[in-house]
């Protein structure tokens, strides 16, 4: 008989290795899925995981990985703070959209002025936009006790509508001949987040690295990070330790909103280029997977975001080269989270084989 036995202390080795095991199991199950779809599983896996990094055209795909990973890192770092404290911001996608709209709007207001001051101003506006969108569920929660999961999620759809309205109305390119979408930031150097477009480097990557470092310091060296962890582990002990739950909710939702807003801002002024109806691409939701895949640990999140970026880039490649349906790639990403959560059990429990009867 197989039984689960609670470990006295969570296993550190397993906590670190389960993401890796989850990736391997996902590869195996994904391979099965692809073979059912009539594709050669080994080739499909190779196309997704190997070719973008080491294949013939890796020089093109490697920067793509960073472009995809940067917003995921930024958002997931913010989310991980709240998740550690048991504050569930599911609406990062909405904060991502609002950050993009606010940052882009400030930049477009100055078009075509060229000044070094414009871009910092836009960054602040982008962060504030996301922050404000995150504060809505935060304030409702502390004032009226609403559920932040529902409110933040619902606000994604509100943001989506705002995005559509902006692309068709207020922010539409006056010279765009009636097509939806704002001016393209590639035509506006003062407002572009590219550092070097050819090399695929933009400011979002720099901010993502800074976020990882700050979050690491916050969680491991600062009392605020300790209070965040304490609140997640034992809310009553946190109150006893003098943690103010209201302030913590405002901080966590505000920070994750601001970081998601930044991610959206760097995306709209760089890789995406313009505010448009189809700007929202699901980074805000994928970042939830990234946060958990990375164990809510800053460095883990960095690695997980790169892996997730790999499935995006490799998935595109597999779509193009092998004709895999895009839904299959999403199933693949979903499997990853599923196996990770399932394997999580092993960090707190061990599997023991027991002979029948000796309960």
């Amino acid at each position: 008989m197989i039984a689960l036995e609670k470990r006295p202390t969570p296993s550190r080795a397993l906590s670190l290795s389960t993401p890796l095991i989850a990736v391997i199991i996902t590869m195996i199950m994904g391979g099965l899925l692809f073979s059912v779809l009539g594709k050669n599983p080994i080739e499909a896996i190779r196309t997704i995981f190997w070719d973008p990094v080491f294949g013939e055209f890796a020089f093109y795909y490697r920067p793509q990985l960073l472009v995809k990973a940067a917003p995921l890192v930024l958002i997931a770092i913010g989310l991980s703070l709240g998740f550690k404290a048991g504050i569930w911001n599911i609406g990062a996608e909405g904060q991502y959209i609002m950050g993009a709209i606010c940052g882009a709007a400030v930049g477009l207001a100055f078009y075509p002025t060229e000044s070094r001051l414009i871009f910092p101003l836009m960054i602040i506006a982008g962060a504030l936009g996301g922050w404000a969108w995150g504060m809505i569920p935060a304030l409702l929660k502390v004032r009226f006790g609403t559920n932040e999961i529902l409110v933040s999620l619902m606000l994604v759809y509100v943001a989506d509508q705002l995005l559509a309205s902006m692309s068709l109305g207020l922010l539409r390119n006056p010279e765009g001949m009636g097509f939806p979408g704002s001016r393209n930031f590639s035509d506006f150097p003062a407002g572009s987040s590219w550092i070097n477009e050819a090399a695929g480097l933009h400011w979002g990557m720099a901010f993502a690295f800074i976020a990882v470092i700050f979050s690491y310091i916050l969680l491991n060296r600062h009392i605020l990070g300790f209070n965040i962890r304490l609140t997640g582990e034992a809310p009553r002990a946190a109150r006893f330790a003098g943690v103010n739950p209201t302030r913590l909710i405002l901080f966590c939702l505000g920070t994750s909103g601001a970081l998601a807003g930044l991610a959206g801002f760097f995306e709209v002024t760089g890789p995406s280029g313009q505010i448009n109806i189809d700007f929202a691409s699901g980074y805000g939701f994928t970042a939830i997977i990234v946060a958990f895949l990375g164990r809510l640990h800053p460095v883990g999140i960095l690695l997980a975001a790169l892996l997730m970026a790999l499935t995006y880039v490799g998935g595109d490649l597999a779509q193009g080269n092998l004709g895999l349906p895009s839904a299959a790639i999403q199933v693949f990403q979903g499997m990853l989270l599923f196996f990770l959560l399932a394997l999580d059990l092993l960090t707190n429990y061990r599997v023991v084989l027991k002979s029948k009867g000796a309960a």
Partner: protein, 515 residues
Amino acid sequence: MSTPLLSIKGLTKTYPGVVANDDVSFDIGTNEVHALLGENGAGKSTLVKMIYGLVKPDSGTMTWNGQLFAPPEPKAARASGVAMVFQHFSLFDALSVAENVALGMENPPAMRDLARRIRRVSETYGLPLDPNRTVGDLSAGERQRVEIIRCLLQDPKLLIMDEPTSVLTPQEVEILFQTLNKLKAEGTSILYISHKLEEIRALCDHATILRLGKNVGECVPADTSARDMAELMVGDTLQTPTRTTEKAGAVVLDVSGLTLEPTNDYGTTLKNIHFTVRAGEILGIGGVAGNGQDELLSALSGESLTWPDSIKVNGQDVANLGPNARRGMGILAAPEERLGHAAAPDLSLTENALLTGAIREGLTNNGFVNWSKTTEFADTIIKEFDVRTPGNHVAARALSGGNLQKFVIGREVLQRPEVLVVNQPTWGVDAAAAASIRQALLDLAAGGAAIVVISQDLDELMEISDRFGALNEGRLSDLRPAAGLSIDEIGLMMGGAHGMEVAHVGDEEKEGASA
């Protein structure tokens, strides 16, 4: 004597690195109340787990009414007539009393019938309990009643009770003893685990004493002094706490007109509480669980804020200050619930040292944690309070209750409090550790701190407090000098027998026969 109900011969159980039970033998007779004595880690729990079928012995045999008895699982043990009231409750907070009871039954009856049976058993055995209440809102004492009633519904032949009286008033203990004596007269044997030696002397027919997994002696408790039993248990002469307090300095803690609504629906409202504690004084506050102890602690620790001027320390109003501001002024507290309130279960001891030590020990600098200093502080607690742990990196939940309690108390005591409030400082702690915790509190008082000890252990309160009061439904009785208080007087201060009735098992049978 005829065949014993349960005869244990040479039971041995080894865990990696520890011999939990080493060749233990004893008999429990029919109609006998048998005491099992021993310090934490002496192997009592392993032994009763083997009887209850939770653990399988490595060697040795048990016979039940002359038949070989080797229950493979608790279900089998229950079927034979063994029931157990655990020290750590196995109840679901979100379910009602009746639902919790139903979960422990093989074939639970319809909820309404079950509720009726629970009411009847609770009245019969003097354990008042509303079957429809949610367990999460019950006090520790009431939760224990759920466990006891759950067992009594099975009509057990052998009832195992692990420290059952910690949460009862003296009158209630007496009534419980009458219940147990009635049960014994009805033919139920009881295996009674307790640290309270006087209780064992009053109740038990035989006692088996375990030390380090071995049976080190048996005695008839009525003929043996509590001190002799304690020394057998510890294997050494017992240090009784000594006090060297020079009496009464200036008033440090001044509580007046403290009123506080509870944070949950079933909590107790504190009503107009007045008391003062002087430097060097220990105020003992007794009372049955759930009469406002948690609320009083949270009002004093700063977790709940109260009306201005209701709590003053050294003349300064602190009623509107949070826990950390109060820590800054030297007001420290140790709550009753070790895991989840006083300490975070999954965090390491070092991190738990930071939990309350950050302010007074100066463990942070501009908000940045000085981990080396924190580790030092944790190590100091571990060393000074003899916390048995492989190291400071161990998660709090991995420690035994007693060791974690030493850590939690030590953490506050070592921060040199001016006012210390502790709730149940020695709950579930073995005799030697309890004595050292009490000694630490006495030493602290001798050093000039004002101490409030909230406890349900009256012996403890009588031993260490200068003055005594009792909480009853959120009100505090008048305070009286502890010296010279009789058990009856204390019981009355605690509100008497709290609506409990003397068990009327005989009546119940008549009623059952006529029905």
